[in-house]
Subunit: 422 residues, 2 copies
């Protein structure tokens, strides 16, 4: 089955916001096994929106629209979709009550135009909105399913998960399941080479690789009569991927990030952690601290941007800085060891490098980064050469540091021998 | 004149990347005074891309395509656009030489398929690519201008600035100029109220507000016979905005960010700076360190996530933490004072708050954040209540800290009295 996305909003046409709903819905639809060939952005204009919707309904089975369900006169997605689908808008009593309750819960009175949000196309499937006042709507016609979702991501995402995705699953006779294998410490091109034979031979399940900064995700998607049948097809492929990528796989869970995997590993081994950062300037600590509940393992860290800071806060030797420079394996090592001791942490990781745009030399070009990790006194240092601008180099360095930390902890506990791949 | 965007790429259809090119090009086109009513995403498929391009050429004057200019067989944007426009591809000698040089400079040999990138539509305007091997192309037909740009943002953006934007300016008889007034420390709704009369009365120049996290940008766009005439129309509006927003305006320069404005202010006053962060976990330091050349003013900073860290690294008193809690004006104040003294900096800024999702109470809900700034001993503390998820609260806190820092430095040097607005 084919699906097409239409994101409605003037802010998108003006470029004042980035279309994250488009990427979110596209990824979810791909995961449901739906083929998406077109995405369109159009403004809150009845004529143009109507035309775009008619074109989409001609060439795709399912059309998902986001945005334009608000209470103001500008919001006309529902009105336009109803007209194109030949449906009349009627007051939907449960939605009216839900709006009443939404405001009452907040000690507020709904404005006159809020009731407009409870006017829904006759015969439509209604999707509750637990995070706002605009209900979602599914209009069924002879040929199409037209799904209307609210624009704010914090309303759209839960509604898609709770209501639209289960509905879409019922449309196919088959159930679609997928599993994502998340890998760090292996380059994209190397990962692709390692699974090329699987991709070339794929029918059901299908295999797709997604490159993220410092990570590669491999999604295995299968369809079957029911969930059990689909998962049965996925299982041997995931097993094969596990045997090929081994401990480079940090998770197969949908909501697990690399930093969460590291935090879980620290927690499980009852280890505290600290970071000593130069070129990443706090980004590494910030990524770790983004994991809820991190306070059990992360107590403190330092940004040591100047040589003096590296000496004063971390005890890096003046002679090391003079002989090897601030961007060197030796400095990275002393930074990690110094941080472990100064901040009394079981695990310390350091980053020092040249993020650019200036500061590069022939010998030490922009993109040269050293990461070091010290686990209870055992030190590992790695050299990296990253491409891209200042931002990209810094993000790559953070991912590399997290990946190194994970590898070093696993190795320390003799679970694997790490560091052979890059 | 109307413009339409077509972003080409399977990764976009699969949702594995977010369409930042779309937002970038849309914002730039709006700035050039072009009206954009449609944006489309389509895959590397000749039939579908051709159809989308034909539709776009029927309804819009200018069509900008991004992506699909690479060397592989999958890349067929140029081939398809040439066919739709009725042009033949010919080897373009300067582009062939540029590709030769690109690889020679990197000590590499071009692959066979790289030469494909020098095959360009006859009579096309060629745009040099200083950051990659795919030249950009402008095809002129009787009715349309079709502009092809490479997909990677680090190639697309400089090419647009250097070549496409000046070309687009020549298309209108009028020259379009714009100036963006960048404001921090004023909420979006308050900023909108403050300029509502100007927006209601706008004809030429036009005025548009853009909300960023913790910032509001107001873009003033005018058209005139030439640049001088357009700028003459813009000038009094910018002057009016300056009188209304005063020192809340941190810049009117295109490439100046809030962190750069703060870094410049520190530099100009010969001040060093440090950060002591709790809930933001290093993000504030990371934003400052993202300014090239920051090493003159930023030497070190600390992430003090635990109470113990706040005491040990910053000297926050145990009694303060016990009496007022880690998230309090008193703790924020001691963190900033302590950081200034421990890290010997002229300016110290601290952040402590509850980013969520857990940890909130009735008295101290998720989103409660305190920022403090100490300029040569003079301390200012601010309380904030931010909405949104963990990420959003942390980003808002970072922007608020930068804004506070800017205000406190200006006030210290008696340039303004700050802190009246929020």
């Amino acid at each position: 089955m084919t699906v097409e996305l239409i994101c409605v909003g003037t802010e998108l046409l003006l470029g004042s916001i980035v279309n994250t709903n488009g990427a979110y819905l596209a990824e979810k639809c791909a995961g449901l096994g739906l083929s998406c060939y077109y995405q369109t952005v159009v403004g809150d204009n009845e004529e143009r929106l109507g035309q775009v919707l008619r074109t989409a309904m001609e060439r795709s089975d399912i059309v998902i629209l986001s945005g334009g369900l608000g209470p103001t006169e500008d919001d006309l997605t529902k009105e336009t979709a109803a007209k194109v689908c030949g449906k009349t808008l009627r007051m939907h009593e449960p939605s009216r009550k839900a709006i009443e309750k939404f405001f009452a819960d907040r000690g507020m009175e709904p404005a006159d135009n809020n009731w407009k949000q409870a006017m829904l196309p006759e015969g439509a499937v209604v999707m509750d909105n637990h995070n706002g006042t605009a209900p979602g709507v599914i209009i069924e016609t002879e040929k199409n399913r037209v799904i209307l979702l609210p624009g704010p991501p914090n309303e759209l995402r839960p509604m898609f998960e709770e209501s639209a995705a289960p509905y879409l699953e019922t449309l196919t006779n088959q159930v679609i399941c997928s599993k994502t294998v998340k890998i760090s410490g292996v380059s994209e091109s190397r990962a692709e080479t390692m699974v090329k034979d699987l991709i070339d031979a794929q029918v059901n399940p299908t295999i797709a690789t997604y490159a993220k900064t410092g990570e590669v995700h491999i999604r295995v998607t299968a369809n079957g009569e029911d969930k059990k049948a689909a998962m049965k097809l996925i299982k041997p492929v995931v097993k094969e991927l596990k045997s090929r990528f081994g401990s480079h796989i940090y998770s197969t869970e949908e909501d697990c990030t690399l930093e969460k995997a590291v935090a879980d590993l620290l927690s499980a081994n009852d280890l505290t952690v600290t970071c000593a950062e130069s070129c990443t300037g706090g980004l590494l600590s910030a990524r770790l601290v983004n994991v809820p509940g991190i306070s059990e393992v992360y107590k403190m860290g330092a940004v040591t941007y100047s040589n003096k800071a590296k000496r004063r806060l971390l005890g890096v030797k003046k002679s090391t800085l003079l002989k090897y420079g601030a961007v060197s394996a030796e400095t990275a090592e002393e930074m990690a060891k110094g941080a472990a001791s100064a901040f009394k942490a079981d695990v310390a990781v350091s980053v020092t490098g040249i993020a650019g745009p200036d500061g590069g030399t022939d010998e030490k070009p922009v993109g040269l980064v050293y990461t070091a990790c010290c686990v209870k006194g055992k030190i590992t240092v790695k050299e990296h050469r990253f491409l891209g601008n200042r931002d990209k180099v810094r993000e790559s360095a953070v991912s590399a540091a997290l990946s190194l930390m994970r590898g070093c902890i696993l190795e320390y506990y003799s679970k694997v021998t790490f560091g052979k791949e890059e």
